[in-house]
Amino acid sequence: MHSDLMKVRRDLKTVRDPYSGNEYVVVLPVIPDVAIIHAAKGSRNGEITTDATRNDRLLAMAAKKTIAVVEELVEPEDVLPGRQEVFVASVHIDAVVLAPGGAHPTGCPRIYETDAAHIREYVAASKDEQGLAAYMEKYIFAPEDHDRYLEVVNFRGGNSGSSTSGNRSGRKQL
């Protein structure tokens, strides 16, 4: 209320709480058309488990459509949140995509770390248009699919051996 944000965000409005009489700043809800979240485990039913410190369940509930990219596809009874995870019900998820290593170059907690060297390379490349174009070509446009991308970035980590075979995307059937 008394920060300089109110000077630069003229669109923000205040409202008087009719119960306490206090004045508060109110903001409109953020309603994404599509949210894409990364999760450790998911089932073909559309249930997932995700990291408890993030707000991915809230994001999934707020968005009009939510796509969950998962490290591992498991049976519905095995979609059980670990100690530092939360469960997200399938009513909030519209599609599940199996892509081990799908969070790269960021990390997936307790499965693989952020690839700091790759992020440094990206930051350096993005200093000018030419460098960014070269980065995009090498890592995004040239690899024909996710597996090639993981090879090009020399990805190590994740659930060893759980990748690539069979149908990679599980469109949920409710």
Partner: protein, 248 residues
Amino acid sequence: MTNMKISDQPAQTPEVMIGAISRLLRDGEWVATGTLSPIPAAAALLAKMTHAPHLTTLIYGDPDFRLSEGFHELFALAQKGKIDVFFLSGVQIDKRGSINLSMLGDYNHPTVRLPGGAGSSMLSALVRRVIIFTTSHNQRLFVPKVDFINATATDDAPWRRGGLSHVVTPLCTMAFDGTKKEIILESLFPGVDLEEVVRNTGFDLGIGGRSIPIMTPLADEELAVLRGPVRERMRLIYPQFAASVWGS
């Protein structure tokens, strides 16, 4: 005995109601049922297993329906506009389609105090269609005007998405006429006399000169699915209801 088909036994009243509600559900809809709603739950399952394979069923108490942290998520889905159909009932229902779940008589000195409206007011405004179901049909239930309004069939709230679609009772189906904003009789269940419905309803059913059709009886396939896979699922979700309709 051994040659008898599963559908040879005549349909019981709850089965006819389940069939009537099932036929009101459209393929692709998201259908949610709340507490104490075995007939709508069975209807949603029957619809999904027959004419509406892409129905999404959100059945309270269904072991296959897993929420993250609580039933409030269902209310949030309704607010988002994801729920197409929800089911309500009441101790009083009036001609304008309002329902009473709170008390009978004067609010401050009620003759009967009831659990209350729960989410009925919000849900009736934010889902696309409400279907009211009742387990009796008499003038104590269908009254000219409810003693207390918990949820309206329609109103001019700017956030309103839909409203009352149908009322399904043990005798008939009624429709909500959006122009007159009144409940009107739509069809009679097989074997039910028009006079019986009129006599047991405390308001004018808008029959006028209309000839009221008899509902097409449940097909063999509908009865077979209802008494087979739907019954099996209902034994897990609503065991007492399943036992009362189909035996153990």
